[in-house]
Amino acid sequence: MSIASTHNVTREEAAHPVRSYPKFLWWALDEATNGSVLFYVWMFVLTAVALVGANAWAVQVARGMIVTNMTDHVSWGLYIANFTFMVGVAAGGVMMVIPAYAYHDKKMHDVVIIGELLAIAAIVMCLLFVVADLGRPERFWHLIPGIGRFNWPMSMLTWDVIVLNGYLLLNLHICGYLLYMRFLGRVPDRRWYLPFVWISIFWAISIHTVTAFLYCGLGGRPFWNTALLAPRFLASAFVAGPAFILILFHIIGRVSDVQIDEAPKRLLINIVRVTVLVNLLMVLSEVFTEFYTGGAHTASARYLYLGLHGNDALVPWIWTAVAFNLVAAALLLSPAVFRSSFALVLACVLAFIGAWIEKGMGLIVPGFIPSTLHEIVEYTPSLTEWKVSAGIWALGLMVLTVGLKMSIVVFTSKRSKP
């Protein structure tokens, strides 16, 4: 990365009178797209993957969702699994916002923008995963309040449309405003961001609660129909989100000149140490209730963990998740994570993948198996579904990379010190 080389340019620009917000964004975007060979290779690969995904999606729209492996029995699959998980990652960023603003943690305050940028990228991905799952994406305007017919407040999906878009706007505003003020060298006006930060804290909880309500409100799906679902979602979100941020800290430290302080890292590790246990406790509680009670309501859980009548497509998935979660928990609780960055990154990667499986494929698919008429039709994602999902992940990582680089450019530019 070449932040140092841009300093002399930006310092002289600081004297320039034209500093409108759009021009600032354009400037930051331009600066953010300067970088090392590694950066260009990274962006090139992501672009290529995103294009493959875009093409797969276009084919899916043209030929119909028959190109997915979803059926009338398993009518949601990899897309909705990823959607559910990414809502959690978006909400997880709030674990930096709360200490930064509610407890006035000065060190966390300096890096809180990373959590907010992660939320932006994650929400963009959520919205794309929902669009990818639509049979008629060109009719999306039916969902726009005012011109469409918005079944609010009855449909939980309309709540999700509101909270996800609202959360995106809140974070765009907070990040944009704070970066812009920093760019101008002004002290941010608290009235212009503090209320929004406070709203965003509650909003972060709401996006994941509403997403859980999508599923747990369905009486016909016993596997989802549990009051524990929303708390479980939040617990695993507060594992996956901070875990990803810890990985980001590590990457930023490696590829850029920015050195992130130890204090926020320690705080995040301490948060994940608690949430990872809370999450495991909730999983255990769910598993106990399912298996000890027995009967027909246990069928989905039996299918997930043990296989049902010889059908066991998800068994390797869920035991991988269990193993990853346990190893991650053990590593995180050991003092090794403070000493060795390898141990820390490994623990975070395992926790992140574990949550992805548990809350994605491990939650959405067994809700449909066995079906409501107790038929067993299995599901494994098709190549199209993998391509589209990879494309959306790539685009999300591009948004995150550019966002982070924009903020690094602003933060490291000397002009911002008045």
Binding site: V9, V18, V61, G135, R136, F140, N151, M154, L157, V161
Partner: protein, 321 residues
Amino acid sequence: MNADELPPKQKGSGAGLLPILNQPGSRRTAMKAAGVALGLTAFGKAISPLWSIPENVSVDEFLQQHYKELSDDDKKKIFARLESETKEELGVDVTISDPPPIPGVHFGYAINLSKCNGNGKCMEACNKENNHDRGTDQSYIRVLEMSKGSMDMEEGNTTYDHTVPQDDKFYMPVQCQQCDNPPCVTVCPVEATWKEADGIVVVDYNWCIGCRYCEAACPYHARRFNWQAPEIPPQEVNPNQGYLSNRIRPQGTMEKCHFCLHRTREGRLPACLEACPTGARVFGDLNDPDSDINWVLKNKRVYVLKEELGTRPSFFYFFDS
């Protein structure tokens, strides 16, 4: 391609804030512009299959309003458009009607499980009457083969292909239960599905966005998604079509049993009932004390599926004593 190796940017008036526009000479800027152009071209190429949307979806169809907001005039135009589209694609003359609910009627359905022998004629009739996809033998009905001595659907089987009836089995057809408290209607984000005055839950196939939330919500596996456009040989198309019922459904939208409303609202019986050789099916007006369905409710011990979910089905099962 490290920034340090590149010539420093020129700094003219306003240059710093719009560097790409004002510095055409900069090597990096030129490369960025080329990269963006290349990326956009590749993106355009990648999503080119999307051009099938403007080919298949007319502007009128794209802008079409929700069924409940259409005037009689709008409907007439839409039905004419759909009829001409079918003529164009399949060369078949069809008539699309839209019979309204009969005031004061609430339809109900009952199945005598002592009579049903699992022959599957109802599924066949549904497939033909409702212009279902032929390749998948799609139907709104599934018949469960159940073991005598158990009502546990987990022991049921819908994919049997032996002679029926088997001595140790009984047969339970399941289709849309036309719930009075339908979870599918509650969850639809765009009100593309609703309950009509005569108790039938319908779908506006031209308003559904295909999110399949209703399919997840339905406890009876009553909903079907058009994973691709249904394929029907032209000579087999049922030309007597209802807008909210059996017209040929578009790809990517949801559909479900509608009690053959294009027939039943005009005094005829559902196709599955007419096709049933055992006389197991009873259909009628729950509000009419003298109807067959009310005779069954009064004189038989009936049950509904998954009563504990509170969906209040208009669909009943009973046995002969």
